[in-house]
Structure formats: structure tokens, C-alpha cells
């Protein structure tokens, strides 16, 4: 049985009917992880621990105490701290760090929660800073569609693991596109919900007012099922919002308007003209436009809208995120946990050497930029000015939602690029984030679904941006597209990748 091609619902049914046990499933995926080690998708795998969790899940299933996803394996981005697996955030700073507690996300899905089985921790850009996974201190996760290309970032390992069938589903985090862009590059589905939907407790902080966790899976339906388990207020994260009293799967399969002859009749899709301006690759443009035509066939109407500050989202983000990062990363001082430099003559030098040796170059760059924009004389011109434009960006979105239900466009201007191609010029890489940054700045939910491939067979994603708390509707829309197309069912030819590794 090809369990890695099954949906969460199919796996849940197979577990309930005892067609397969959680232990067997866990063995199956651990074997695939070991076979595909060359993709570098995982940073820590502890087979015994996963099998222990599987055994526990099998007991729950046998005693009739199982939840819907009990016994299904999952992989966690290494930004979520775990008691049993190392938590490194792909940094040398935390190379051997073991957390004394589990992140809320891990706790909710694990043994004392939904009973899913953790397969291990996935690779990422160091401290979630990057768009290609090349900033990992442990080497990049490779794109399973072609291992010479980047997986995207920062949740590259999770995207690779799902795309290569190393796990049925994974968690990711998204500060400026870190779920959506790797999902797009690897041909999977990922959603970043409204800011505050999922607790950030135990999520290693990068830019706290932008960071948000979310599911990365094979389909909108799978993501909806996981989101049901993840959302909810947590007293340990003061920014987590009161639980949305909603089942994210409740609208799946329903027509947009009751009793309509077409599934999405009445749906108004806003197309931001700035998302199709200069800089968008011709093939990506054509592919996204074809997807929009499909939505029209399903009954939707496309209307043109404007998000005039789209280009400015890059400077706004690259002021605000580094500013928050410079503050968040001040905790790494070599005293309480993590790396400490070997040679130093006094306390200050110990701090400085520890941080200089422990952090990678992109992390250091962002700390320096953050310190700069927050420093005396520059605070108003950079930091405050960026926060003001952030409000204009959020207001522009609200204006567009007066005339449409959701927005659609590309996730990224191009498909995945070759490893090493952009790693020399940080600014060149920043520009690739143009379509994904604004939703984070506004706190809006946004997702990526596969909608085609380039001439070279690299996946292309479609971005859906919704208004606050409209995840169930976005998933409903994405699910209708996936029920009528098969882009999300495409899988990479791993034999060819294996040969290249």
C-alpha cells in the first residue's frame, strides 16, 4: 500500500478499521525518511520515540478512545520546541538544545492531545530567516522535484517532507511567506491563518507581531483537519485570540451560495493588479491566469482591485522584522542555554564571540539592521514610518474586501531557483517575497495551493488571501478547485532525485 499518497481522512479510516496500525504507518514513514535522507528534510529523527508514540496511539485506537487523527504521523518544523527531539531552529546557536517543555502546537497534537505521532523535526532557514532554506546551519533541504533547486523557505524541510511523501502532513510557520512560498515551490498546500489563531507558545521567536504557525499538507481538506486541532486561545500567549467557534471543515463541499448550479457561483475574486505587474515570470503569470479561468468555470467572477503599496511591503517588512528580531534574539547570550564561545577574556567578549560564532550571516545581518532602525536618530524615520505604512497596507486590504470575497494571485514571482543562485545578494532574495509579505503585515490569513508547473516541471502555486477569520471559506474555495483539478495530486519522481543525490 502506498500510504504516502493517502489523504488524512483515508489514513484515519484505515486506522479505525484496523487495515493498518499506527506502528505500521510510523515504520513506513520512518523508512521513507531514511531512504530519502539525502533530501535533508529532517534535522532530528528518533525512531524509538516515534514508535513509542505510535504504540500509545494504537492502544487508544483499540480502547476506543482515539480522536480522528490519532495515530497519524506528523513532522514539526524545528522552530517548535520539543522535550524529546532537539530544537535547533537550524542554528549552530542551538545545535544540541533540548527544551524542558513542548510548544503548544506540539502539545496539542501529541500524546496528551490529539495522539498524532511525531516523526521528527524538519529543516528550515536559521531562525526562520530566509526564502530558500539555504540559511540552515545544517545545509539546505533539497527540492524533491529537482534536487539542484531550492525548496523555498523558511519552512523548506516541512514542504519537502510532505512533497516527497516522508510524512502525511507537517507544521510550519509563516512570518513573511515561510509557509506559502515553500508550499508553492514544492507543490503542496499550506495555510497561514489569521494572526493570533494558533498559540506561539514554544515557537522560537523571530518577529513576534508577524509570526504565525499553520499546517502544510497535500490538500486543503488535510490542512482544514489539522487547523481544527491547532486553533484556540492559549493563556501562555497573550496575543492568541479567543477560539474561533468554527469547524474549518464545515464548509468543504458546500456550494458558495446555497442551491447554486455551480459550486462557486456568486464568489467574487479580487485580482490585485500589482500582483501581475512587471517582474512576474511569464509562465507563472499564464499558469495563475489559467487557474483563475478554472475558478470562473466553477462559477466565480474575477474583478480587478488595487493594493497600491504592494512594492513597499518589502521595505516595510525588512525594517519591522529585523527590528523585532534584534530584540528577540538578544536572549542568545551563551549563559542559560545554547552555544558558548570557547575563548574569551571577559563577559562582554563572551557575549560577542558567542553570538558572532553561533549565528549565521543572514541572522547577523538582520540583527544589525534591526539595531540600526531602532537606534537613536533613526527610529522615527525607519521604524515608526514603516509601522505607519503597515497601517496603510492593512487599510488597503480592507478597502479591497469591500468589493470582493477573497484575493488571488501568484505566491512568488518565479518558480524555485537553483541552489546558490541568489545566496550572494541578500537584497535580490528579499525581492522574491513581494507577494507574500503584505498579509503578514496586516495579520490576514493567506494560503498557497498548487496550480501548475513550469516548463522544467517545477511546481507553481496560487495564493489565496482572505479577510480576517475567513479560513473556512478560503479552504472551501481551495477545496472546490482541488476537487476539479489534479495539480495537488502530482508527485515528484523521486527515483531521479535519488540518483542525483
Amino acid at each position: 500500500m502506498k500510504w504516502h499518497e493517502k489523504s488524512l481522512t483515508e489514513l484515519a479510516k484505515a486506522l479505525q478499521t484496523k487495515e493498518v496500525s499506527s506502528t505500521e504507518l510510523t515504520h513506513y514513514f520512518l523508512k521513507r525518511i531514511a531512504e530519502m535522507k539525502g533530501l535533508n528534510a529532517f534535522l532530528d529523527v528518533q525512531e524509538d520515540l516515534s514508535l513509542q508514540e505510535a504504540k500509545h496511539a494504537d492502544e487508544l485506537i483499540s480502547s476506543g478512545k482515539a480522536g480522528f487523527l490519532t495515530g497519524i504521523p506528523i513532522a514539526h518544523k524545528d522552530v517548535f520546541v520539543t522535550k524529546s527531539w532537539k530544537s535547533t531552529a537550524a542554528s549552530k546557536m542551538l545545535e544540541n538544545y533540548i527544551s524542558p517543555f513542548d510548544a503548544r502546537v506540539v502539545e496539542l497534537l501529541g500524546q496528551n492531545g490529539a495522539g498524532m505521532v511525531c516523526l521528527g523535526k524538519t529543516n528550515m532557514d536559521e531562525f526562520a530567516m530566509g526564502s530558500s532554506n539555504e540559511n540552515s546551519a545544517f545545509g539546505p533541504a533539497l527540492n524533491p522535484w529537482n534536487s539542484a533547486f531550492v525548496s523555498g523557505g523558511s519552512s523548506g524541510g516541512s514542504a519537502v517532507a510532505v512533497a516527497a511523501g516522508l510524512t502525511p502532513i507537517a507544521t510550519g510557520t509563516d512570518t513573511g511567506g515561510s509557509i506559502r512560498q515553500p508550499a508553492s515551490f514544492c507543490g503542496i498546500t499550506g495555510i497561514k491563518p489569521t494572526y493570533g489563531t494558533i498559540s506561539r507558545y514554544g515557537m522560537i521567536a523571530y518577529a513576534s507581531s508577524l509570526d504565525q504557525a499553520g499546517p502544510m499538507g497535500k490538500s486543503a481538506e488535510d490542512c482544514a483537519l489539522l487547523l481544527n486541532l491547532l486553533s484556540g486561545q492559549d493563556p501562555r500567549d497573550s496575543t492568541s485570540l479567543k477560539a474561533q467557534e468554527i469547524d474549518f471543515t464545515s464548509l468543504l463541499g458546500k456550494t458558495w451560495v446555497e442551491n447554486a448550479d455551480l459550486p462557486l457561483k456568486g464568489l467574487k475574486i479580487g485580482i490585485p493588479e500589482e500582483y501581475f505587474a512587471q517582474g512576474l515570470d511569464a509562465k507563472v503569470r499564464e499558469t495563475v491566469q489559467n487557474a483563475l479561468k478554472k475558478f470562473e468555470e466553477l462559477g466565480a467572477t474575477c474583478i480587478s482591485v488595487s493594493l497600491p503599496k504592494t512594492k513597499l511591503s518589502i521595505p516595510v517588512y525588512y525594517v519591522l522584522a529585523p527590528a523585532e528580531a534584534s530584540s528577540n534574539l538578544s536572549r542568545y547570550d551563551g549563559v542559560r542555554y545554547g552555544y558558548r564561545a570557547k575563548e574569551y577574556k571577559d563577559l562582554n567578549q563572551m557575549y560577542e564571540r558567542t553570538r558572532s560564532e553561533g549565528f549565521g550571516s543572514e541572522v547577523k545581518r538582520r540583527i544589525l539592521i534591526g539595531s540600526y532602525v531602532l537606534s537613536q536618530g533613526y527610529y522615527d524615520a525607519y521604524y515608526l514610518q514603516a509601522l505607519k505604512i503597515r497601517r496603510i497596507i492593512a487599510q488597503d486590504f480592507q478597502k479591497s474586501f469591500e468589493t470582493c470575497d477573497v484575493l488571488m494571485g501568484p505566491v512568488a514571482p518565479k518558480v524555485a531557483w537553483k541552489i546558490g543562485e541568489k545566496s550572494k545578494d541578500p537584497v535580490e532574495m528579499y525581492l522574491e517575497d513581494i507577494y507574500t509579505l503584505s498579509p503578514n503585515l496586516a495579520g490576514l490569513p493567506a494560503m498557497s495551493i498548487p496550480c501548475g508547473q513550469s516548463q522544467d516541471g517545477l511546481p507553481i502555486g496560487l495564493q489565496i488571501i482572505g479577510n480576517y477569520f475567513s479560513e473556512a471559506k478560503m479552504l472551501q474555495i481551495a477545496d472546490h478547485f482541488q476537487k476539479n483539478t489534479n495539480w495537488h495530486l502530482q508527485t515528484p519522481n523521486l527515483q531521479s532525485v535519488e540518483g542525483a543525490l
Binding site: 493570533g196 514610518q385 492593512a394
Partner: protein, 97 residues
Amino acid sequence: MNTEEIKHLAKLSCLEISTEQTNQISKELENILSLVAELQSVDTKGVEPLFHPISMIQALNQPLRQDIVSETDNRSNNMLSAPISHEGLYLVPKVIE
């Protein structure tokens, strides 16, 4: 950015930057600063800064909890990842002469 500015920034960031790295870093930071310079072109008169996206959704209020102990003592576990510790204390170089 001159060497003095880079040094000052490194000090604020608690990072050590060698003289050889200064040129390279100054070039990279200048590139990033020219990217973000575009912010100055926007008229933001009368616009309030948006510190937190939640305030777009609902009024910001800091939730308070009851003042009761919620965490158990986990000292030895919390110290397991310390680079150097001794009898329940973190060891650091001499701070006061």
C-alpha cells in the same frame, strides 16, 4: 557606512565584527538601507503606526491571569542545556572586579 558606524552597530547588537569583515558588511547593509530608503517617499501625516495586527481586528487588551502559581519548580531540567553550570548556578566570567 564607515568603520566607526559599523563598530557602533556591532556594539549595539553585541556582535564581534573583525576589520576584514567590516567592508563586506558595510556594503551589504548599505544595499539593504537603500532598499528601505523608499519608505521616506510615502506621506504618512496623520497615520497612526500599526504596532500589532490584532488592533486591526479587535481592541488590544492585555489579558491578566490570577496571581497564583501555575508552573512547578523545574530548575534542574531548565538548567540541563546550560553551557556551564555548577551546583544549580550558571557560571559566567567575572562581572565585578
